[in-house]
């Protein structure tokens, strides 16, 4: 903590559960380092956790006030009765990469290959890629290739050792893989654009509870403001990134730069989420992802996106 944090004890506390080595921590750390939480009338407490499942359990168990997840998760939980809502955090999506010396030059060369996918068969990037590929060639990518699903680091390794011909991974793994020499064949954001979807629709966001917002509206707004201020600062100030570098776990300057660029690229536009855009994206993914993805939803429930006030 910075100077003067001792007096903050009187301020109300917001607890955010976050992956200790995740990208969310970079923003949270900046909020605390720069005193943005104090400025916005709260004290930020980060509950470090070791995995996404852990953050979701913490949120469902009521142990934390907020975590970062995607709006699909929020929608599914909301449909089952949880009063979760979504405050944009990032638009970052993945992509499909191949080893530098791969013969695969474009999407057409994927036919018959093996693809490693980190998020499972209902990974959002993978579904958008499938929709896009179908639009382009009329065939389902899932039929013309063999898929291997696995944990992100396992997929990273499989791609690097040539066990798979191509890989779809989460963006910060992709950033590292690309920094390590792999080549992006399809950019999911661009594919989304081709499909007529708005690539600036944020996928990841802070999950909050309606009841909590109702109880402490000024706290919720404070969190939203602090997040935005941190994003603005990180978007411009390289010095802030140098401060974050020790917790970013970048192997070299190239990786560091890739991570920084990737994070900045994911900063969502200010203002509320366009529910129609989100609905369109949901429709695309729901068609291919099926029940597993939608959890039985035919459309996004109301109130998934918090307007910020």
């Amino acid at each position: 903590g910075g100077p003067g944090r001792a007096q903050d004890q009187s301020l109300p506390e917001i607890t955010v559960g976050a992956l200790q080595n995740g990208t969310v921590t970079w923003e949270l750390q900046t909020i605390m380092d720069q005193g943005l939480d104090r400025d916005n009338g709260f004290r930020l407490r980060v509950l470090p956790l070791a995995g996404n499942p852990a953050t979701q359990i913490a949120m469902n168990g009521g142990e934390v006030d907020s975590i970062v997840s995607d709006w699909l998760w929020v929608a599914q939980n909301r449909a089952r009765g949880a009063d979760f809502t979504f405050l944009p955090y990032s638009t970052a999506v993945g992509g499909l990469v191949v080893p530098a010396d791969s013969d695969i030059a474009g999407p057409d060369d994927l036919d018959g290959g093996r693809i490693g996918i980190a998020g499972g068969p209902v990974d959002k990037s993978w579904l958008i890629l499938r929709a896009w590929y179908r639009q382009q060639s009329g065939a389902d990518l899932a039929d013309v290739t063999e898929q291997v699903f696995g944990a992100p680091p396992v997929i990273q390794n499989a791609a690097e050792t040539g066990q798979v011909d191509a890989a779809v991974n989460f963006w910060h793994y992709l950033a590292r893989m690309k920094a390590g020499g792999m080549r992006e064949v399809i950019d999911v954001a661009q594919a989304a654009g081709d499909l007529g979807l708005d690539p600036s629709t944020p996928l990841l966001g802070y999950v909050l509870r309606d009841s909590w917002i109702e109880d402490k509206p000024e706290l919720a707004r404070g969190l939203a403001r602090a997040s935005r201020q941190a994003k603005d600062m990180l978007a411009q100030d390289d010095a802030l990134w140098d401060r974050l570098r020790p917790i970013m776990d970048a192997a070299n300057d190239a990786e560091f730069a890739a991570l920084r660029a990737g994070w900045r690229a994911g900063i969502p536009p200010a203002g509320p989420v366009d529910a129609a855009n989100a609905q369109a994206m949901f429709a695309v993914m729901a068609e291919l992802g099926g029940e597993e993805l939608t959890g039985g939803l035919s459309r996004l429930p109301d109130g998934v996106f918090w307007s910020g006030d």
């Binding site: 469902n60 939980n77 089952r80 499972g120 696995g150 396992v154 390794n157 499989a158 597993e292 993805l293």
Partner: protein, 246 residues
């Protein structure tokens, strides 16, 4: 009968708890879970994924029991073998499942062989330990008898040693098959594209507790069936000699 009654009692308890907690999201009642179970049964999903998982469970079980029993016997009978192998055993016993699984996937590749080997490697040390302790408790008088009558190694193993180890093997099998299936879940989670573990993790990531319970219970039912149809009768046959009547 008491078995079935107790199942019914558990079911009733579940209904009551679900009613009281009144939160179908984190505490779905049996009806909700049954409906999910019905769904996955009629779509045929259940058979495919449960089949894959069962295949992995049985393959690694067979491998782990064969190697574990042999190692356990050896270490229980020979002090030298025990002294040499014990540190390795304790290490193998305590290396986290995750580490073994990840390393297997990394070194062998993302395939079925790696998956089954990873599970077996997790389980072998446990079987070995159980059999070693059992072997240490073998009756010396029967051993002497076997020596005096110059029984062959095979006959000795089959008629003198194994019957004494039967309770240990039964315990290892029962505790083992359940441990294996738990590890198979992790293995499927980390690097397979089908199986109950794959489904459970998928549903868990969308926090679908009813779905998770449906899959978990489906496979528990399979295990319960194995217990009743295979393990219990086998044990009963093995322990006939303990009974009074003839």
């Amino acid at each position: 009968m008491p078995g079935i009654l107790s199942l019914v009692a558990m079911l009733v308890l579940w209904v009551v708890v679900a009613r009281i907690s009144d939160d179908p999201r984190t505490m779905p009642g049996p009806e909700a879970v049954a409906m999910r179970l019905w769904q996955i049964t009629v779509t045929g999903e259940l058979w495919f994924h449960a089949g894959m998982t069962l295949f992995r469970v049985l393959a690694s079980f067979a491998l782990a029991m064969a190697v574990g029993v042999a190692l356990g016997l050896w270490m229980g009978r020979s002090r030298t073998a025990d002294q040499w192998l014990n540190p390795g055993l304790v290490i193998a016993l305590n290396v986290p499942a995750l580490v073994i699984i990840v390393l297997a996937y990394i070194w062998i590749g993302l395939n079925e062989v790696a998956a089954i080997l990873a599970v077996a490697l997790n389980k072998i040390p446990v079987v070995t330990v159980m059999l070693r302790e059992g072997t240490r408790a073998l009756r010396p008088d029967l051993d002497d008898m076997a020596t005096a009558f110059r029984m062959s190694r095979a006959a000795r193993l089959r008629h003198v040693v194994m019957p004494q180890l039967a309770p240990h093997v039964a315990a290892a099998a029962r505790a083992g098959i359940s441990l294996i299936w738990k590890i198979v879940l992790v293995v499927e989670f980390l690097g397979r594209s089908n199986g109950v573990g794959f489904k459970i993790h998928l549903l868990f990531s969308s926090f679908d507790v009813a779905g998770v319970l449906a899959w978990a219970l489906a496979f528990v039912a399979v295990m319960l069936a194995i217990d009743i149809v295979v393990l219990r009768p086998w044990e009963a046959r093995l322990s006939r000699w303990r009974r009074d009547e003839d």
